[in-house]
C-alpha cells in the first residue's frame, strides 16, 4: 500500500479508547461542574452587570442557590459512584491503577518541557495516561474534595455552628470562592484548551462523547499504549 493511502487509513480508523462507564461519569461531572461554575460566578460577581445577568438567567437569587445545591448533589453522587467504580469493578480498578502518579510522569513532564523549548530532540514516549491526564485528574480530585468539604460547611452552617468557630466559616467561604475561581481558570480553561483548542484538535474533539481516537493520534500522543494494543493484535 502506498504510504499516503496508509496514512489516510490510519486517520480514518478509530478505536474506542474511553469506555462508556467513564464517558457517562465524565458527562455527569461536566454537567454538574458547569452548573456549579455558572451559579457560583453569579454569586461571586453579583454586583457586576455580568453577575446580574447570570442571576437573571438562573431565575433569580433563590433559584440560583437551588440550582447550585442540586448540581452539588449531582457532583457528589458522581464522586461517590466513581469511588465505587474504581474500588469494586475490575475495569475501573485497572483504569485507576494506571492513573497513579509515578516518577516517570515527572520525568516525562520535564522532557516535554525541554522538547518544547527545543533543548531535546525527541518527545517523551507517553502511555495511556500521561502526566497530562494524571495531573488534571489528581488536581481535579483534590479541588473537588476541597469544594465538597468547604461547601458542606457553608450549606449546613446551622449544624456546624455547634462545632466550628466563626473564623472557620469565613475561611471556608474564602476557600470555596478561591478554589472555585481556580477550578474555572486553571482546570476548566486549561482542560478545555488541552482537549479541544490546542493545535491539531481545534475546534472540537468528540472523544468525550464517543470515546474514539484515530490510530494516528493514538500513536502520536500515546505511543506506549499504541504499541501494547498492536502487540495484542487489537488494532
Amino acid at each position: 500500500m502506498p504510504n499516503e493511502q496508509m496514512q489516510e487509513l490510519r486517520e480514518a480508523r478509530t478505536i474506542e479508547r474511553i469506555n462508556l462507564q467513564l464517558r457517562v461519569q465524565h458527562f455527569a461531572l461536566m454537567v454538574s461542574v458547569t452548573l456549579l461554575i455558572l451559579t457560583g460566578l453569579a454569586l461571586l460577581y453579583r454586583d457586576s452587570a455580568f453577575g446580574r445577568l447570570l442571576i437573571a438567567l438562573e431565575g433569580g437569587f433563590e433559584a440560583r442557590g437551588t440550582i447550585h445545591r442540586v448540581a452539588a448533589g449531582l457532583l457528589m453522587a458522581t464522586v461517590f459512584y466513581h469511588l465505587l467504580y474504581i474500588l469494586f469493578s475490575r475495569e475501573g480498578h485497572e483504569e485507576f491503577m494506571q492513573m497513579l502518579l509515578t516518577v516517570q510522569d515527572f520525568k516525562d513532564y520535564g522532557a516535554a518541557l525541554l522538547y518544547g523549548l527545543g533543548v531535546r530532540a525527541e518527545e517523551p514516549q507517553l502511555d495511556r495516561y500521561s502526566y497530562r491526564e494524571k495531573f488534571q485528574y489528581w488536581a481535579f480530585a483534590l479541588f473537588v474534595v476541597i469544594m465538597i468539604v468547604s461547601g458542606f460547611i457553608l450549606w449546613f452552617h446551622n449544624w456546624f455552628f455547634g462545632l466550628l468557630p466563626k473564623w472557620a466559616f469565613d475561611v471556608a467561604l474564602a476557600v470555596h470562592s478561591g478554589t472555585g475561581t481556580l477550578i474555572l481558570l486553571v482546570l476548566t480553561l486549561w482542560h478545555f484548551y488541552l482537549v479541544h483548542l490546542s493545535p491539531g484538535r481545534f475546534p472540537i474533539d468528540w472523544s468525550f462523547w464517543n470515546g474514539k481516537i484515530s490510530e494516528k493520534r493514538l500513536q502520536e500522543e500515546h505511543p506506549l499504549e499504541y504499541q501494547r494494543l498492536k502487540e495484542k493484535g487489537l488494532l
Binding site: 522538547y115 518544547g116 527545543g118 452552617h157 468557630p165 466563626k166 469565613d170 486549561w190 490546542s198
Partner: protein
C-alpha cells in the same frame, strides 16, 4: 401606645390653637425645599410644623429655628427617648459630642415612616445605609477610635446578602446591636458584649456554641482583622498568578511543538 397617640393628638390640637400656624402657611415658603407629598404620607402627617419647630412664633420668621432636639421627640416618644439617652449615642451627645447620632439622624427629619415601610430610613433593607453613613468611613474611626467599614462588611456577609436579595428575616444592624439602646461592645449590658454574644446569636441560631464566638462578625480580609481569610486570599492570588503564567507558557510550547512536528 394608645396613651401616646392620644396625647400626641392632643398636643397637635393644642399647638394648633396656641400658635395659630397651620402647615399651609409654612408650605408657602418651604414647599420648594421640602417634599410635601412625602411629608403628608409620613407618620407625622397630622402634626403641625410648630409641634417640632416650637420656636417659630410667627410667619414669616426672621431667625432660623433651632434643630429639634431629642427632648422634642421625647414629648411623644418618651420610652424610646429614655432608652436613647442611656445608649452610647445618647451619652456621647450628652457629653457634647455633636457627631453622635440623634433621632433625626436615623429616622430622618421630615420623611419619618414606619419601619415596615420600604421608604423608611430604618426599613430593614435601608438600615445598613443609614448606619453606614457614620459607620463606614466617615472619619469617626480616626477621631473616636470606633471600627469603620461596618456597612460594607455587613453587606458582604451572609446576613447582608440575604437581606439584599429578599430574605428580610436575616439579621440586620439592629438585630444584634439593638436600636434605641445601642451600647458599646465593652459595656457588660451590651447585646454584643462577649458575655452576651452567644445569647444574641442564639436568638436565631439556637445551635450556636461558645466556640462560634472565635472570629470576627464583620469580616475583612486583613491580617489584623481576619488573618485566616487574609492568608487564603494571598495564597490564591499567588497560586492563580503562577498557574496563569504556566498556562501561557504551556500554550506557547504547544504551538512550537506542533510546528516542529509538522515540519519534521
Amino acid at each position: 401606645m394608645r396613651m401616646i397617640a392620644l396625647s400626641g393628638t392632643l398636643l397637635v390640637l393644642l399647638s394648633a390653637l396656641t400658635a395659630g400656624q397651620t402647615p399651609t402657611d409654612c408650605w408657602d415658603c418651604h414647599g420648594d425645599r421640602l417634599d410635601r407629598a412625602a411629608f403628608e404620607s409620613s407618620v407625622h402627617k397630622d402634626l403641625a410644623c410648630t409641634d417640632c419647630h416650637g420656636d417659630v412664633q410667627s410667619v414669616p420668621h426672621e431667625q432660623q429655628p433651632a434643630r429639634p432636639t431629642t427632648q422634642v421627640c421625647a414629648g411623644c416618644h418618651p420610652s424610646q427617648a429614655s432608652e436613647y439617652q442611656q445608649s452610647i449615642h445618647g451619652r456621647a451627645r450628652a457629653q457634647g459630642i455633636g457627631e453622635a447620632a440623634h433621632c433625626a439622624d436615623c429616622h430622618s427629619a421630615h420623611t419619618v415612616f414606619s419601619k415596615a415601610d420600604p421608604r423608611s430610613s430604618v426599613f430593614v433593607r435601608n438600615l445598613p445605609q443609614t448606619c453606614g453613613r457614620c459607620h463606614e468611613n466617615s472619619g469617626l474611626s480616626e477621631r473616636f477610635g470606633i471600627a469603620a467599614h461596618r456597612y460594607s462588611t455587613y453587606w458582604e456577609s451572609y446576613h447582608g446578602l440575604s437581606v439584599k436579595y429578599g430574605n428580610l428575616i436575616a439579621a440586620n444592624c439592629s438585630s444584634c446591636h439593638g436600636s434605641h439602646l445601642i451600647l458599646a461592645a465593652a459595656d457588660p449590658s451590651s447585646s454584643i458584649h462577649p458575655q452576651n454574644l452567644l445569647q444574641t446569636c442564639g436568638r436565631c441560631h439556637p445551635n450556636a456554641s461558645a466556640n462560634l464566638l472565635k472570629g470576627k462578625v464583620h469580616v475583612e480580609a486583613k491580617l489584623s482583622v481576619s488573618p485566616g481569610v487574609y492568608a487564603v486570599h494571598v495564597f490564591y492570588i499567588i497560586f492563580l498568578g503562577v498557574f496563569a503564567a504556566l498556562f501561557l507558557l504551556h500554550v506557547a510550547l504547544d504551538i512550537i511543538r506542533w510546528l516542529r512536528r509538522r515540519h519534521a
